[in-house]
Amino acid sequence: MTRDAREHEVCARTDAAGAVSVAEDPPLWLQSLDPAGATRIDVRPHLAAGRDPFDDIMALACPLRVGGALIIEAPFDPVPLRTVLAEHGFETFAKRIEAGHWRLWCLRQHAPKVTPPARGSTAGGATVWREDDGIHIDVRGLPAPAPLVAIVRLIESGDHAGTVVAHLDRDPVHLYPELAERNWSATSLPGDANEVRLRLTKAPT
């Protein structure tokens, strides 16, 4: 195998459109990336234990602002994950460090592409859609604690502009402490009969 072929084998990167391609040289942004300031996660133990690390990775990736970096240690080049990260505004570069050890550098280049979900799209049993006043989530009919989980998942996904309108069939008492932990607040809105409607707003930081 030639040197070029080896390099092609061990390096790959995604562009902002999400296309993964092999690359010979690290991108420019990687040279100026400060590893000490990056968020890190090693998912090799997760995978060795048979656990899917996707949620843990996204929980770290989504809160990152533009310019924020995430470094992932993985046993292989996680191409599908890189496509998802690209949809969330990340450019990525992967390099094989040694056998069974890849390092993935991810830099958030822009805010997530918020594609308005079609009404009726579901996440964890909840219905999510976009209106002029922000993302809406309808968790009516879900058993506890599924409404709490669906709303927190949406808030943490970053796929909103700081406002979420939640449609519930009762006051979500367990949600309020979780909102407070995440620096969000809730305001009552007029709703349909037998509906509790809340506007959830992220506090400015």
């Binding site: 058993p143 506890a144 604690p145 989980v149 006051d171 008492v173 009552s188 506090a203």
Partner: protein, 430 residues
């Protein structure tokens, strides 16, 4: 940041602040006493085989004072929230609490002093407390279905039978009508420990653990399996103890082991898919409780088959009460106390109050290490009958329990400061 949240219907599902404070405050106080009192019975504990005396008094300080108080307080508060039902009225909860304490204090004192009169006087208030509690929980469950309902319904049936047997046992000291006091006492213990506390813990875990971890609730199929196995285990164990057929009791413990393994596997799968990044010490306690449950059932099976030494019975009691149940309850309490306080602040229409700001981490660490060290030493000391090891474990456990009381007081004090500051803010000129 203002959080003008309307809690309209939620107000009906939240108990008045003083109700959980009474139940949990009593449990937290009894928690310190139970650990400390273990040191006083260190010599007798390994050979405990039932009957009134100081060891039974310590056991009931833990079961009635800590476990039942916590289970009552937590279920009266959490089930209405989980099921979307109005909470029981403050008056009913107060009567349950007063009856429980009015029964527990003379019963524990009666056991300690071997006073038949005191033991007898406890029966009526305890039966009344349980009857009222069962009525309220049954009303919450009415019209619903699903695994949570089955767990809780079976738990309250077990509690009802357990308390009736307890009353019969108390009366038997005077009237002597029971054919085999020891066998009935064993049935009572299994009904109370595994039937009520165990099924309540397994049932509430389906709601509480996903809530704590911010994770999807478990699939229904494995929960159904765990329920079926747990119910079968209970029937087998009770049949074995009731008829004196040891292999049946051992089979009950074996099937219980399968139920516990199914439950642990289901809960681990839930936690693995959590959204919450940082896992607090409550999850270490949860892990310890699962380990203690599995060990306790193994020991119970071994004991039923005569494979354990004469300290085996006491070891099972330590593993079940101090290991499994106390670990899970203190883990749950350290999570729901700040949450309840935060909810109460939201109810008072104050600025939002993040639960993390109410928690004194050092106190939780003291509790964690004290509890685990105490549990390990008391279990080992009981297994090999070394009283000084039990005394050392009791001391560590007491330090842990004091740490837990510090944590609870901090939550209370910080919540009150927050509410007071909010009240002053409202009065001050803008």
């Amino acid at each position: 940041m203002l959080s003008p949240v309307s809690l309209g219907g939620a107000k009906q599902r939240l108990l008045a602040e003083r109700i959980p404070a009474l139940f949990f405050g009593t449990a937290i106080s009894a928690h310190v006493i139970a650990w400390a009192a273990l040191a006083l019975v260190a010599a007798e504990l390994p050979y405990f085989a039932g009957g009134p005396g100081p060891v039974l008094a310590v056991v009931h300080t833990l079961t009635l004072g800590v476990l039942l108080c916590t289970a009552f307080g937590a279920s009266l508060q959490m089930l209405p929230v989980a099921l979307g039902q109005p909470a029981p009225t403050e008056g009913v909860c107060l009567v349950i609490f007063v009856a429980l304490v009015t029964g527990a204090v003379p019963l524990i004192t009666g056991f300690a002093l071997t006073s038949v009169t005191l033991m007898g006087s406890a029966a009526l208030p305890l039966v009344a407390a349980v009857a009222l509690y069962v009525r309220e929980i049954a009303a919450l469950l009415r019209g619903g279905s699903g695994p949570l309902h089955w767990f809780i319904l079976t738990a309250i049936i077990a509690l009802s039978v357990a308390v009736l047997l307890a009353a019969a046992l108390a009366a038997n000291y005077t009237l002597g009508f029971l054919p085999d006091h020891g066998r009935i006492a064993a049935v009572h213990a299994v009904l109370a420990g595994f039937g009520f506390m165990g099924l309540m813990a397994l049932g509430l875990s389906q709601i509480l653990i996903p809530m704590f971890a911010i994770a999807e609730p478990p699939e229904e199929a494995p929960v159904r399996r765990a329920y079926a196995l747990a119910a079968a285990a209970l029937v087998l164990a009770l049949s074995g103890l009731g008829t004196g057929v040891a292999p049946l009791t051992a089979a009950g413990a074996g099937v219980g082991l399968l139920a516990a393994a199914q439950h642990v596997q289901t809960m681990r799968a839930v936690v693995a898919k959590r959204l919450r990044r940082r896992m607090g010490p409550e999850f270490i306690l949860l892990g310890a409780s699962w380990a203690a449950l599995l060990l306790a059932l193994l020991a119970a099976a071994g004991g039923a088959l005569g494979l354990l030494s004469e300290t085996g019975g006491a070891l099972v009691i330590v593993l079940v009460l101090f290991g499994w149940l106390l670990s899970i309850l203190t883990g749950v309490l350290q999570r729901i106390l700040p949450f309840l306080a935060s909810m109460q602040a939201a109810r008072a229409q104050t600025r939002s109050l993040a639960p993390a700001k109410l928690v004194e981490e050092r106190a939780l660490m003291i509790h964690l290490y004290g509890h685990l060290a105490g549990l390990g030493a008391v279990a080992a000391g009981t297994a090999v009958a070394i009283p000084w090891l039990i005394v050392a474990g009791a001391a560590a456990g007491t330090i842990g329990a004091v740490g837990f009381a510090w944590f609870a007081l901090t939550v209370l004090q910080r919540t009150r400061s927050h509410l007071k500051a909010h009240a002053l803010g409202r009065l001050s000129p803008s």
